[in-house]
Symmetry: C2
Subunit: 205 residues, 2 copies
DNA sequence: TTCCTAATGTGACAAAAGTCACCAACGAAC
DNA sequence: GTTCGTTGGTGACTTTTGTCACATTAGGAA
């Protein structure tokens, strides 16, 4: 049963509606799921894979906000939808993603009907807020070498794999720095035996 | 009537409860209203003055999160309380503050009873999230001179006054940099005619 | 007034991060 | 195999930011 993975849905009615209305979807990597300046049509609940939430600022910079991992949803989409606003962010799949899509209208109705759904919305937002604050803290007080190390360990924890398939440029983007800086630091880490470098791939020890 | 300032309280019952249960309080400057590692006892609704919300990280750094201004409340406190967690932040008055304190138990009950209160909670969190993301964006992509300038204009917009009563050290803390950096930049701005410096005071043109 | 402290000013320097230029190497396509 | 675009490596340099040390000054307290 689909909703078993989402055990925070307490009310029987809610579980039923969730089962019925939730559309199971398979989405290929690098596909846009939430587009800025559009209305949110569905709320994604990830079953497999991960998505990236990004904001584009006025200067065209892409600010990485957070990942959505298996078992999670997009808090920003939720609040945007509940408040009937246009999306301010974009969400893009990182790899092959399997998700359950809940229509916006339902998510909105449930907010008024089901206490456990209300709590879920709250928890989702609270958790994301916490994450963003932590990022802010790191950006404000830590040097990039430490941030990079944090990033790598975090990333392996999420994916469960010791090997990371990304280019230095992609990492640099997420940490808002330049490719050269990342390359140099990675090389340094390799010399220290922390990891091993390959093309498009990093293996962490 | 107290609740006139808070016109988002739509339901008659809610307005009534708010009037009855809300405690009008006067609080002197620099007083702790929310303490970390304690339960939230009341939710503050500011009528006058402003408060600062800060987080202390493991290394003892104080990270400025946001201001609470007149007409606003503390979104983090709200969600913390609704989820029955311990406070992770501290909130401190900046100047003489007048506020209405709503007992936690009520705020929690209202979340289940009144749609407009639910929307209010949502809006508060959404707005703060947006603010923090904006800060993150600035910290990630802008240089301190621009951040300082932004900070000064923002601050005057909030207080409505062209003069700012703070020391360079205090500004440095909020921008997570050092006093010397701020002093130097302010001097530069003064030379450019953007502002005028006094002891404990900056006047912006 | 005089004294004292907090606040500010500033030069010199160090550290961190970003930029530029260019090369090397890998792997996919031909 | 050869070609070519992408990715990664690296030295040299600049810019930005942070740090240290110390001088100066304003304004309240004695």
């Amino acid at each position: 049963m689909i909703s078993e993975k989402f055990d925070f849905l307490l009310e029987a009615g809610l579980r039923e509606e969730f089962e019925q209305a939730g559309q199971l979807m398979q989405i290929p990597p690098r596909q846009l799921v939430v587009e800025p300046q559009k209305y949110i049509k569905v709320i994604p609940f990830l079953l497999k894979g991960s998505m990236k939430v990004i904001r584009q600022d006025e200067d065209g910079h892409e600010l990485f906000i957070y990942y959505i991992r298996s078992g999670e949803t997009c808090a920003v989409s939720l609040s945007t939808l509940l408040m009937d606003k246009l999306a301010s962010i974009k969400a893009i799949t990182e790899d092959d993603v399997e998700l359950i899509a809940i229509p916006s209208s339902l998510a909105r109705r449930w907010y008024d009907m089901y206490p456990s759904w209300r709590m879920f919305v709250l928890r989702a937002m609270d958790q994301r807020f916490e994450e963003v604050i932590n990022t802010l803290d790191k950006v404000a007080f830590k040097k990039i070498d430490e941030r990079l190390l944090d990033y790598l360990t975090e990333k392996t924890k999420i994916t469960g794999s010791k090997s990371l398939n990304m280019t230095h440029q992609e990492i640099a983007n997420e940490l808002s720095t330049s490719r050269e800086v990342i390359s140099r630091l990675l090389k340094l880490f390799e010399q220290r035996g922390i990891l091993k470098l390959f093309r498009n791939k990093i293996e962490i020890n």
